[in-house]
């Protein structure tokens, strides 16, 4: 009886707590989502320059033409590469912050990882052109040291440049959640592990890693989502005509093909939702954020 009531009260609390965010997401966020999906099935109306309710799958058929499908794959590939590299760099960096540094150095590092973020991402991405270009700093150093005869061309206007630019821009998204996850680790557990003779790697893989996994997953997801949505690095650092989903949406908007733009966006949302569901099933995402028992 009492247990029952506790459970009910708990549900009510949960509902009340969820209310503000649900208001925002369902009240504001869901409407564009639903409209987007609906409009993607309507037809462009040349008279009103907008969409009209003549239902059609034409926009989805158009997704299969002109290599549009490859843009989805390319974007997913670039975003996955960026997220993977960012996470691989961020996990050790966050470990240095969360485990291997005293409070002062940890503070300093977190600040250092956040400061570049305050300057415009656009300007930062542009600066890479001057660092990586044919006459840029890196090529200048390489030719100056006699390591190469002619400037290395693929440093700029290539997928390499795009991924580098995105990693540089998005690393903090991966680092911050992992640093926060270190609060889950009790120093005494680490000490115990070492008292038992476990080395660094043993301690890291058996104790640290499982506990910071929520941070790693969240960091990966953050970077992936941000990278999927970006067009800046691709337009500034990519090769001739380099594309991504956002670039393609801009192209389509330029010719006011609104239904197609909405169809592209709908596919992106469906794909990402599917990805999260799969991740949830396999990695037990929703259990990651549970506390550590008592």
């Amino acid at each position: 009886m009492r247990l029952d009531e506790v459970a009910r009260r708990r549900q009510r609390t949960a509902f009340l707590l969820a209310l503000p965010s649900l208001v925002v997401f369902v009240g504001i966020g869901f409407i564009p989502l639903v409209l987007m999906a609906t409009w993607s099935l309507w037809t462009f109306d040349a008279d009103t320059y907008w969409v009209k309710p003549i239902w059609s799958l034409a926009s989805y058929a158009a997704l299969l033409e002109g290599g549009r499908a490859t843009v989805f794959l390319r974007t997913a590939g670039l975003a996955a590469a960026t997220a993977t590299i960012s996470t691989l760099l961020a996990a050790p960096a966050a470990t240095v912050v969360g485990l291997l540094s005293g409070p002062r150095r940890a503070t300093l590092l977190v600040a250092l990882f956040t400061i570049p973020f305050f300057t415009s991402g656009l300007v930062r991405a542009f600066a890479w052109r001057l660092v990586l270009g044919r006459e840029g700093i890196i090529n200048g150093a390489l030719t100056g040291l006699g390591l190469v005869r002619t400037p290395v061309e693929w440093l700029l206007f290539s997928d390499f440049a795009v991924v580098l630019g995105m990693v540089a821009a998005d690393i903090p998204f991966a680092i911050v959640p992992i640093v926060l996850a270190f609060a889950r680790i009790e120093p005494s557990v680490i000490r115990a592990s070492q008292d038992l003779g476990a080395g660094f790697w043993m301690t890291f893989s058996s104790i640290v890693l499982p506990l910071i996994t929520p941070g790693i997953v969240a960091g990966f997801l953050f970077v992936f989502v941000v990278a999927v949505g970006t067009s800046m690095e691709i337009q500034l650092l990519g090769g001739a005509g380099a594309s991504s989903i956002s670039v393609m949406i801009n192209d389509v908007m330029r010719v006011v093909n609104f239904p197609l733009a909405f169809a592209i966006a709908t596919v992106v949302v469906v794909f990402l939702i599917a990805l999260v569901i799969v991740a949830d099933r396999t990695l037990k995402l929703s259990r990651l954020f549970e506390h550590l028992g008592t």
Binding site: D47, T48, Y49, W50, E65, G66, G67, R68, T70, V71, P103, A106, T107, V110, A111, T114, I115, F118, F126, R129, L130, G133, R134, E135, G136, E153, L156, F157, V179, L180, A183, P187, Q235, L236, G238, G239, A240, G241, A242, S243, V247, M248, N250, D251, V252, M253, R254, V255, V256, N257, F258
Partner: protein, 389 residues
Amino acid sequence: MTRDDFSRRIRSQLTRRRLFQHAALGVSVLAAGTLGLPRAARAADEINFWATGTLDIGDDGWKTFERESGVEVNFSDNGNDPGPVVAKLAAGNANDIYDVGGLQGGSEKEVAKRGLIAPWDLSQIPNYASLWQSAKDIPYLSYEGKVYGIPSVINADSIIALRDKAGSVDSYGVIFDRKLKGKTAMEDAWINSATFAAIYLKNSENAKIAEPGNLTAEELGLVMEFLIKHKRDGQFRTFWSGWEQGLQLIASQEVWAMTGWEPIVYAARARGVDCYYAVPKEGYEAWGNNLVLLKGAVDRGLSRTAHRFANALLSGFYGCKLGALRGYFVPTDNNVAYATAHSDDFDPAKVAELGEHVKAKFAGRVYWQNTRPDNFQLYEQWWQRLRNA
């Protein structure tokens, strides 16, 4: 260890230092905020001018403009990309905020058809008469006999080339020249690049193309296949968009020749780069940036002010200022008259020279760029194919 002990320990050991870490960031946020200055309040005779950034003459320029015309101008950059601009007009909130637009020419007719912009009453714009005929004749400025677009800036574009690397260039052929493989660039928009390629193919390769700014499906296929082939061959270093990108490509010698905007040449030269604007034998790509009267301004009772603004824009000062600032040209002879009367502020000879220079370009072969060719959806499909080739 008791529960209390535990929680106290966590607090003292973990939280304090983390709080400490993140407080650093919180203060940086506030520090960044203190750089801001208070905004000016809105006055009565005020126009919100929403245009391509290149039409901006800066705060001091607009101050003088206000002194001369009595119209206060709030300039907002519209991003120049005709797609989002039209989307914001058609579906978004542009008409709630802005009064006069400055659009890259082509879509006037279509937004006029939908009633998003209102026709200009030319009797309220005496300076309209002073506009060059070639500018008034731009094909897409009127709809159903009424004028919707007033040319504010026109120019004719061609190729920027590095003198010591590309040699002397007189043809778009240089962009597609094998010897410059990986060292050329075009703009990241079919509006420009398809038109340039069409001009080249029409006049140097005898391709059957009637109007490079408005290609038929068949002509478009020919032009785009040509571009796709060269893209696959690695001919282009990159495609560019926007002033800073274009300038950087030339100034850093990333490319030796590219299609682009004439003022980039002036800016690159000022930086000591030996480059020039080619006179292509195939002809120039002409473009106009046109003033449109937003329907919202009429609804807000600002129609008369907007007309005064448009008239003032053509009265000379703006043309002189824009020419001095960015090398862009307002197609009216009022510029020279103004500079002559204000020779302390502007050099009449220079103003006249810029006018003659643009006039000379228009005396030869020019093809108008068009952001809305009849087959514009097809253009986009082909551009996708080019991107993904």
